[in-house]
Symmetry: C2
Subunit: 484 residues, 2 copies
């Protein structure tokens, strides 16, 4: 392996709604990171931004930002992996330093989103979804809601208990965010606030979903020895379509990335002091803590109920407030997780959200609907390092191939409802509310379908019909609509 | 430095207008590269595409392509630097292998453009241009045309001679393309064809500009020893705005990138057997050969007239046909240059465009209007390598800082016309034709202005007025328009 890689300096803008341009936000974060690092220059600039073209109408962003920083001449490139861009650009910078060809690499990640309407932003963000699922009207919250319903079903929880668990995740992260001066939301959220918030896509409410945010983050990686070392990196993709996966309630991309990162860092899950876990939706934080090996499958919710993941708990999760409360400028979030972890490990947080004695930190970042995930482990270099012991892997490869992944061509067929949601905040051009369900057909295919009127229950038999590119499902009690 | 890096295999689709999707084109190129490399798997996939969101309406392209290739699970990221994306993604893959963390990295670059109208494509491509220059109506051909006029002026050439030189570049590259089965244009172009073609932006005609193209290219880099080794990489940015540069007729980004690549490869310009030079516009090929140190400044045109850059000449330039004849799928072109160079160095071209005995090849790729350029050097590992000798650098740093880079705030001022063009193929929403000029004001600022009616000559005094965000210029013979 090449050179060791260290973090020389970090910087972040306040997250939230900003009147500054993306270039201004990035310049502000970079200036802070330069100041913190105490370096005079860098030999490579890597920019992470998810969808600068459609959000801002500018392309050629790598040259634009280098020029804006007064670094015209220095090589610059943009890296992108949808909502895990912040971690992916960090990974690219790691390789550039580890290769020995670069000494100091400036990494900047950011996104400018709040100037567009929510419907338009939802439409742009939905471009990450596999085409067939997208044209049915599936948005990110709709897919996350279906995953939530399936998790509740598999974990054997009542609807009331599931919602109380999700509320606890939201309340915890908003509490942490209230202590973070960089967070978009700094108000405490009560149970009453949570249950009073609107449905986005049943059973997810506004307080289950990360907000739309402007913000930028910067970090300087170096080959020179510093307090914080990058010790583990993992990265894995999954099928673009959610319906092509073997499990809806565990993300293989997180499991694979975690396995690589633990192996490279030579640590096990119990060695991790604290973690930032991609909580674009509250359910994803729970699934993340299971996929990372912190808790057994379908038992992560117990850690939430038991307060284990609270800031004073045994394993603090999202002490920054997470994407939920700090905000989610899509291309920036992964790097924001890492920068906040640097502050935690250095002991620089400065108030009660500081986790005392933090030594090894892990961040997990999701790209798209969990099809391009990264896990990053950083650690203090001045502490005693445990001798790695054999750790019984939670990663049973098992049957990781879906049975049948192509969509069926028949015009009518029967199947079982695997999960469903009622989407209230529909993408541009689709009337609200919209029922969406994942149906396992008799021949083993999984399809996404729009629901006709009717009450749907997981496990129930449904009838599916194809009309043009779209599938529609009907429950057993419902009669076929009259044709005119 | 880390591991040495070799090319294991390459593949390319035919370039031109295609009915296949971007994913299909990329899969086709990747399959060929896998077959050529003889590898069973790769541990990292890097995707180069310039503007997939606006051209195709899809984002999350790294996960999409990995899934399409049956590689769900393998880490994947997208790299982008505008029109030099193909080289930048190659550079990222180089670092990943050189770092020792990856053994076989699949690089795929492509673009799907021809399904949109030319005006819409021109509008999307113009997003690379600095905002102030863009809102005046400057397109890429308009800026290239102004650079051409200035080159002619500085080289002391008549308009007729300049056009005859540009014609020779176009005719040469179309001749080379006629021998390349992957090229978009395989017909010979005559002097009559050239002079019969339409003005795009005076003095550039259709045959001076690279076409709109669909296509994809793939390559596998490996740490295992193979015939072709990657020996030099260089990469540099420049100011986003053309008017902020110290020279219009030499690209500092190419000079800096070349310097790094020669230094890393420990070779000098005379050691290069052949080169692929970014000829998005015929003038850029001539400027490129000067900036790369092949010919002295403002003398590259002599090499064209003397046939030195022809396929049978002493230094063949663009034996593939270049962007001009092979076509220019913007995100793919840089990697296409490298893949064609691999075929040349392996001696696999198979017809009269094979350059005999080629040992060291160089490719130069321009991002945006020459503000993110890369130079790549690859070589055969089985040949005698010359002992590096001191080579008198052509790169005199000189005064590389522009005098004043901010735009003036006065509403009216005088200046000297540095260069101008008449743009016929205007971007969406701007009437044709449009006169554009670069004006050096009395206080040393350079501004881009739209021309009122009148005849403009380089070196002439002009009057500039500001209206809103736009500048307008008038020649001395012209009276101010009456205001109502």
């Amino acid at each position: 392996m090449g050179s060791e890689v260290f973090v020389a300096g970090v910087g972040m803008t306040a997250f939230g709604r900003s009147n500054q341009s993306l270039a201004e936000l990035m310049a502000q974060a970079a200036t802070k990171a330069f100041f913190d690092a105490g370096v005079r220059g860098v030999d490579y600039v890597l920019i992470g931004v998810m969808n600068v073209e459609e959000f801002t109408g500018e392309s050629n962003v790598a040259a634009l930002i280098a020029d804006r920083l007064g670094l015209a001449g220095v090589p610059s490139a943009r890296v992108e992996t949808a909502s895990s861009t912040g971690s992916a650009v960090f990974e690219s910078a790691f390789y550039a330093v580890a290769s020995g060809y670069h000494r100091n690499v400036l990494v900047i990640a950011g996104e400018k989103m709040t100037h567009l309407t929510t419907a338009r932003t939802t439409r742009i963000l939905a471009e990450v979804i596999e085409r067939n699922e997208r044209i049915h009207g599936a948005s990110m919250p709709a897919l996350a809601a279906m995953i939530t319903q399936k998790y509740q079903y598999e974990a054997g929880l009542s609807s009331e208990r599931m919602q109380s668990i999700l509320a606890k995740v939201a309340i915890k992260n908003h509490y942490n965010g209230s202590l973070n001066p960089y967070a978009q939301f700094r108000k405490l959220v009560s149970e009453a606030d949570y249950f009073g918030s609107k449905w986005v896509s049943f059973p997810l409410r506004t307080y289950d979903c990360a907000p739309i945010t402007d913000g930028a983050v910067a970090l300087v990686l170096t080959s020179e020895k510093k307090l914080i070392r990058v010790s583990g990196l993992g990265h894995a993709t999954d099928t673009l379509a959610v319906r092509h996966r073997d499990s809806l309630t565990s993300f293989r991309s997180t499991r694979l990335a975690a396995q690589q990162a633990y192996s490279m860092a030579r640590v096990n899950p119990p060695d991790i002091s604290l973690a930032e876990v991609h909580d674009a939706f509250t359910t994803f934080e729970i699934i993340g803590t299971e996929d990372l090996g912190f808790f057994p499958a379908k038992q992560g919710w117990k850690a939430v109920e038991g307060g284990i993941t609270s800031i004073k708990g045994k394993l603090p999760i999202n002490p920054s407030g997470g994407l939920k409360a700090r905000g989610h400028p899509v291309g920036a979030s992964g790097l924001a997780q890492i920068v906040d972890m640097v502050w935690q490990l250095r002991g620089e947080v400065g108030n009660s959200r500081q986790v005392p004695g933090a030594r090894i930190g892990l961040t997990q970042n999701i790209g798209g609907l969990a099809n391009n995930n990264l896990v990053t482990i950083i650690e203090r270099t001045d502490r005693f390092r445990p001798i790695p012991v054999y750790w019984k892997s939670l990663f049973d490869p098992g049957n990781t191939e879906p049975l049948v992944t192509s969509d069926p061509v028949q015009s009518s067929m029967e199947g079982t409802l695997e999960t469903f949601t009622i989407l209230y905040a529909t993408p541009e051009g689709i009337p609200s509310p919209l029922t969406l369900g994942l149906v396992r057909t008799k021949d083993g295919r999984m399809i996404l379908a729009r629901g006709r009127d009717g009450n749907f229950v997981i496990g129930q038999e449904v009838q599916v019909e194809k009309e043009g590119d779209l599938f529609y499902m009907r429950g057993p009690s419902e009669k076929p609509p009259k044709r005119e």
